[in-house]
Symmetry: D2
Subunit: 357 residues, 4 copies
């Protein structure tokens, strides 16, 4: 018999199963169902490693689509140790944390009518423009509280946002739970989001619907987000982590920002093995040539992913993958996650101290 | 508050859940996760209808990918009443029913090496060329047993295949379970499959590796599949069913063949309401303009889908959707399916008698 | 320098260019633009071969989308020698050949309103239901003219349709030009289309809006399409062609039906090299595991495509690819096509005689 | 006749055509071919407006894929007035401007072997790791020349890069031509790219393969990119432009950053009409719910796109669209572009003065 024929596909039988049992069964099938099953097993394997730092890249409108508490749970249960996110994600998380909602809508609707009613559409989810503006102002208020003698990294700022939310007793918030759990959250394109708007509003002295004194270049007060510091810090995480695993929800800047941590270390002369575990859920495809959809094999050529890394790239909408994968991890890996040694991050004066415990 | 803001998105919480509870929770979110959840609810609603005939269109290499027992279960538990399938699906089902396997493989492999070893690849699933040929010959043997005084419809032929498999005590076979359950199986493009090959082999008198006497046009023996009869019969099903629901796994000929049953009736002068329930799991997209990916809204313009139909089109690989949806139906709708009145089909001399009971 | 670095990407400069010059420039770039450019060059290379038979598989709603005259031109200029098509394609071609139109529409429209006006939507193209029905009846009339003492293959029937259209002086018709040029057209799923409806209508004796005497099984008149004969005939083409090249517009049954010609020959014991040139334009993707989107590399494992075949799979909507590729062939390969030795098909009593001249 | 039937689809005929004539013909067809044709016409209409500022969002690995000179040409001929880009794009542009190449490669290759040879893969394009590092150091050198008493916006820094390239007599460089033409280039996620690496290297005092004195928080020297300033400046462009048009190559941060300029103005209390022309070339899809693939209709609900805007979203790989669209604009709109009144940007002390002339 050919060496290629090692293990048969096992057809899934239907019966009473936990979600974790189902994804294990799917791992013995083919195509993307198999990949989804394998991704859960690889994630569980990551959690079993002695000293590993797990970084998640998060993009897409996951919070409006109801995925907020899943990410918050993953942070709380330390299924991940570091989060790199798009800004919109964090804005919508803060919005719900302040008691607001997103709404079940429809993609088959007259968008001009929505405009007339100040309803914003995200495919089949609706939001309220006026409430979004209130959240903008709340964020602006936090910015204005800061004593800004120097630029602030996105990690520092989001950490402060988290503490403010915890002070308001917010629950199940991504930003809040991260602050509670000591999970750093980076947003390398913070300017490209509603939170970025709030920074612009603060710089322009916007108040009570009117623009005030604009921050001048000669002012010694800084309302500046230092994303280069974020790059520096994430590179330090990869340097000091001993071993890294990555999970990408979608692609975009968060995926690239985490992928590049290995590369930047290589450039800086540090020997790096590449990320040793890697999972991605994406609706993109490799043949368009972009970073979001590229395979982990391609990443091996760059040294971003290790030669012997365990990887699963799953082509699927994250709103399908996240609920299933989270519950499969709940069924199959909760105890493992709770017992694992987790990295703690001490940022000091700019030099990271990373310890497992 | 705007009329567009009726019901908030409910973020999914992580905890102990049955698969059916999870898909119900997903139905309260956004994007394709929501659609997947809604599709289960719509399928369950179909099963609650008094007199409904549920037709499934099945395409893609679902059997090699381990989905065979799920479809067989759906037939056995009468989650569906009629199956329209691609030929490859049925061939691979027969292949496994005869005791063969498909194998876990990889998409990152040297295909010339596979060719050297007579291993056939279907993305990340492998098959054995020589064993496929044995199955071809077994099917040819069934064809040659027939007294073919007239062309045979694909439904008749697949019904015979099913009986042969049951005689061999095959279990969990799509074709076999359909024969047992009285579920008609149509294959409108049977010539375009390995089963079609077996018909050609029979026509050419192929035996022991050699070609024999070729069937001549003047012969009175017919080795012909009459797919026009299949079209006629599926139209009769739609005519007599009172109410129809449809489930599409992928698109292709099976989807179109079922969609057109309403249309052909309209052309033939029968008042038709359109299918009143419709679910599709597809990786295609509407903007390419083809039938496989078109929306159910588009189908309303043709009269194929009812104006008030309950529909959910889910953009997802069926190897992800089928295991989840089947188990959610198991959790949420098994009793409903078992108690429902099912259609029985008496094909008579060409005029269908359809009764519910 | 690494052996992997042989030829630089050449950035495209903007200036006065023929379409053929542009696709040649694109062949020196990356991603799908490069593949599109390469596909034109491979097609031109095919046309340069001494004795080759070029088979095109055609699916998707290309005719409603305005691609009809391009396909007719490809047939007339013998850019292809054999066509395998979906039925809908041929129906819509006949519809336009009879003087009807498809209409520029919109995908953002109320489909119930279209239903009220008997307007059928195909994404952003509209059709007129009542005119479609007239075409159905015209086709039915052709069917009823036949003396059907035996089943008719789709190739025979479409050939007859073509002659009828030529008698009406139809121009630029796919079916008509094929009849004129001696290019056989196969439709392996003819029952799955409006033309299939016309066969059902003929079998039911439908006339003047009423159903007549239904064809009985005991009747000696056959209104049956013999697609097994089509399978047999296409296999014979591949057997006798010396060399074959394939072009797929989309995937579906037409792609598989042509791919399998090599395989079926292998099963029948004929040594086959696989298709030696292969081009596909598709919006599908390999990772879904289906035949429509699978790579030509995968097809090598089956023996469908030759080990050393020149291939290009281009991920693009065919309504973009066809106009560009046709004009690039016009610019770069028209003389080559006109001078090439073309296969002629003599179907005799069932044994094909294929000659180049 | 129904009001929905206004203009027939005009089948494309094959013959001698300029590229601009071909895209005009495609605009009379269906599906994405039609959208591609319409996108050229809408772009040409934009260029005909009296006082309009055209902003392009550019993402994906367009430069490695050979699209660099096309973008440079669009800047030089003022087919666009403002560019928002991913950082990778600009890095690879600088890389080629310094005399380096990208290489024609293959997606079917052993990535570990590439790693061994320090060859980096981007789908079917290869790059040289060691040469990339040289470019990194060149960029670091530019950073270190700056007297950094305050953070620098990405626009300022890219402007400086452009001047350096012009001093080296670089031709056909995106960054260089933008500097020459006075077209501002923004990179809202500059930290997420090789250029971001160079900033980190500069902060760490990296020299001759060794890390030097790390920039301390108490230092008064800033090596910080101020993307909030970029947000402020792009908002000012939208405020002062009178009318805006947008062209998106891909999605990601560049698309969102331009879309949000309207929204941020609304929040700041400025009456905004939304962008009045909008074109996108994307391989994403609306049903995944993300910003990259969302429709312009959805954007109307937010006020980002005007109610009466002329829009075309084309689902196609940009490496196919860009060469065709650029040449069609060359054929159909070059004179229009040359004669139009172009915006000039005077950034002053932070308050933009925008004039047309």
């Amino acid at each position: 018999m050919s060496k290629f024929l090692q293990k048969p596909v096992t057809p899934v039988t239907v019966g009473k199963k936990s979600i974790g049992q189902l994804t294990d069964a799917m791992a013995e099938t083919g195509f993307q169902g198999r990949k989804l099953g394998e991704s859960v097993q690889i994630w569980a394997d990551m959690l079993r490693e002695e000293n590993i730092t797990i970084m998640m890249g998060l993009s897409g409108a996951m919070v409006p689509a109801g995925m907020r508490k899943i990410i918050a749970w993953m942070i709380r249960e330390r299924m991940i140790d570091v989060l790199v996110s798009s800004g919109a994600q964090l804005f919508h998380d803060v919005h719900e944390a302040l008691g607001n909602y997103h709404w079940k809508g429809s993609a088959h609707v007259d968008d001009e009518e929505l405009l007339d009613e100040s309803v914003d559409r995200m495919y089949d989810v609706f939001g309220e423009e006026q409430k979004f503006r209130k959240t903008d102002r709340w964020v602006q208020g936090i910015i204005e509280k800061l004593e800004l003698e120097r630029p602030v990294s996105s990690r520092e700022f989001i950490g402060l946002l988290g503490k403010e939310l915890l002070a308001l007793k917010a629950e199940d918030s991504i930003v809040g739970e991260a602050a509670r759990a000591g999970v750093p959250v980076f947003c390398p394109a913070l300017a490209d989001s509603s939170i970025g708007y709030s920074f612009v509003m603060a710089r322009r002295g916007w108040k009570d619907g009117k623009q005030g004194r604009r921050l001048l270049r000669t002012d010694k007060r800084f309302i500046v987000v230092d994303n280069i510091a974020d790059a520096d810090e994430t590179v330090q995480i990869a340097e000091r982590a001993k071993m890294t695993g990555v999970v990408y929800i979608g692609g975009g800047v968060p995926k690239n920002f985490i992928q590049q941590t290995e590369l930047l270390n290589l450039i800086l002369g540090v020997e790096m093995p590449g990320h040793e575990y890697a999972v991605q859920y994406t609706t993109d495809a490799p043949h368009w040539g972009g970073l979001s959809g590229c395979t982990f094999e391609e990443a091996v050529s760059w040294g971003k992913i290790g030669r012997r890394a365990k990887t699963a790239q799953v082509f699927v909408d994250a709103t399908i993958a996240l609920p299933i994968v989270a519950h499969a991890l709940y069924d199959n890996a909760l105890e493992i996650a709770r017992k694992r040694k987790k990295p703690a991050f001490d940022w000091g004066n700019g030099e990271l101290k990373l310890t497992y415990g």
